[in-house]
Symmetry: C2
Subunit: 364 residues, 2 copies
């Protein structure tokens, strides 16, 4: 029945990553004529473009066409109905960070619709959702790929899966998993020189676009905790949720109740002394502080927070907003397998999504 020479693609989300992905998809579709990649649905939270007969949505200028569209998006379960009824196999590309879309994955997968996404929510929410997703995929044979949910386009998820699937035993994973935290600490506590006041560095990072609109969404550590949850589960640990292990928040208790990010930034300088003392304590040992996450697989322990490192340690020597992820395994012994590079940004995040799409299409 199915036409194996084409694949239907639906995209939800046309933000920073979504726009970069669209450009990459356009080039890919032009370069790889077979199977034909047929964009059949695209939506923001308020608008959509699709045709009931699955005829192709023109990728040329699609962001503008979508903004001018008078169609509302389909309700989420209706998108699954639409894709499951397509005349060839379909892939749903979720370029949102929405929990609602993530909750849809088990239904989509159970009906044979594959998922490609940078959205962390599905894989770092409840363990029940994680199980539902992978059970649905295993049963139907549909694929779910999410390279960019950790470290953007860096080969992190794929490497961990390769290690596990080929039978290696991962003993420990550690690293810097947030571009924002990387930038903040590389500036605040550089390996050479003094660095600025903590609140100044936070403001600088925000003005450069390195933080979320409200910087507390980075400083509370939850973003890193979500990434650690995903990696720990892939390494075989049954982590219940990203709040089921110790996560150090860099938001002073007294500022948790601020009503806005702006109020928070205004009041932050009064707490610079705390961070300065943390930096000075590390300096007295000849070290620098960094915000890291670690997974001790044997001891079943996951944690996120500040740690001290020798300036020559690869984690201390990181630059800009780079991520670094070290995999310690039985085969690799005392010297870990390390992946390092930009772990945020539209183009490199979209690259992970496009790479996943290519791999899923190759299996269709």
């Amino acid at each position: 029945m199915a036409n194996t020479n084409q694949v239907f693609i639906a995209i939800i989300g046309v933000g920073g990553v979504g726009k970069c992905f669209l450009n990459q998809l356009k080039s890919l579709a032009a370069r790889k004529p077979s199977p034909k990649l047929n964009l059949c649905y695209i939506s923001t939270s308020r608008k959509a473009l699709y045709n009931d007969d699955y005829s192709e949505v023109n990728m040329e200028g699609v962001v503008d066409t979508l903004a001018a569209s008078s169609k509302a998006p389909l309700a989420l379960p209706k998108i699954v109905d639409y894709l499951a009824a397509a005349p060839a196999k379909a892939i749903l590309v979720d370029n949102t960070s929405s929990q609602d879309v993530a909750d849809l994955y088990p239904l989509a997968l159970s009906r044979g619709v594959s998922i490609v996404t940078p959205n962390k929510k599905a894989f770092s929410g409840s363990y029940q959702l994680w199980q539902d997703i992978f059970t649905a995929a295993a049963t139907s044979g549909a694929k779910v790929y999410h390279e960019s949910s950790v470290g953007a386009g860096l080969p992190v998820i794929s490497t961990l899966k390769d290690l596990v699937e080929t039978g290696d035993r991962v003993t420990k994973i550690e690293g810097v998993f947030s571009g924002t935290m990387s930038f903040l600490f590389n500036s605040f506590a550089p390996t050479q020189g003094r660095g600025g006041a903590w609140s100044d560095e936070v403001k600088k990072a925000k003005s450069l676009g390195y933080t979320e609109p409200d910087p507390r969404d980075d400083l509370n550590g939850l973003d890193v905790a979500r990434k650690l949850t995903i990696l720990a589960r892939l390494a075989g640990l049954q982590v219940e949720s990203p709040t089921a292990f110790p996560v150090q928040s860099l938001i002073p208790k007294e500022l948790e109740s601020c009503s806005s990010g702006d109020e928070f930034l205004e009041k932050l300088p009064a707490f610079d002394k705390q961070m300065e003392e943390t930096k000075a304590e590390a300096a007295r040992e000849g070290k620098v502080v960094r915000f890291v996450g670690s997974i001790d697989v044997g001891a079943n322990k996951v944690k996120v927070g500040l740690e001290k490192f020798d300036p020559s340690h690869p984690i201390a020597a990181l630059k800009g907003s780079d991520n670094i992820i070290s995999f310690y395994t039985e085969r690799y012994g005392s010297n870990p397998l390390i992946v390092q590079g930009a772990g945020a940004g539209g183009e490199v995040t979209a690259m992970g999504v496009t790479g996943d799409l290519i791999k899923v299409v190759a299996q269709m």
Copy 2:
């Protein structure tokens, strides 16, 4: 016609990597019941095990059974005939470093037999062979995967392919591509301390099993040149052969004619002064020497040889026999995507082969 619920596997080569691969394959076959991985042929250069009716070769104790076998291996083109006629799709795993086996790939691929291999010869020989291989694969749809041909199981080939296929522009690749050279220079010119005499370090590396039986096979730079040839071609350069660009040999001219590795090692101390001077020259600039390879894609330049690095540079700070590979691309900007870790050894090399096998099977 084909039974899609099984895949036939043929293995040539049961050396260090081959034995580790067999163990990984046995675990994989036991863990993943579908599709069934059916070992139908296995051979060394002198013996083979296979059944004309394709019934399974028992993986339990297969190395001993093979050693005791009275069957000779099939002639190479006959192996292709045998696999192409199998009642389901087949994968040829080439765990040799043989040029003869490599020359067989175009025929195998053209007849629908996929290839998985750590053998560098096919991808770093003549550009004609490279073209024949990928043309045959594109035409028949059979797959050819060779992750372990560079950096053993490290995600090097897969990362470069992802970058290129998603439309990034790779501008430069540089790194340490030989575990032997890494070990030698990390000991001879450490970032801290003095290091031993060059000839002593070479002897130590040989006694630890870090070199080829004849250390000249590492010191001539050809192994690194082959790896650079593969990466340069994947990045889009038409490199004719591994001798088509400058490769610095660390074999003194006077010792090129030694009749054996032992004679070479005996005479090497007389040339320690040359290497000592190279080290001292770097030290006067506050640097250390390392044996690296680099590909400048824009300038179409590939080279292999000694270079000087600041002790804080990631290439200088490498440990043990680790490899490091840095990808500079348009998307990643000034901070490269870096992959680092053990680039040699039976288990990690076999891991790359097993990982490739899993990916090829998933596409069948």
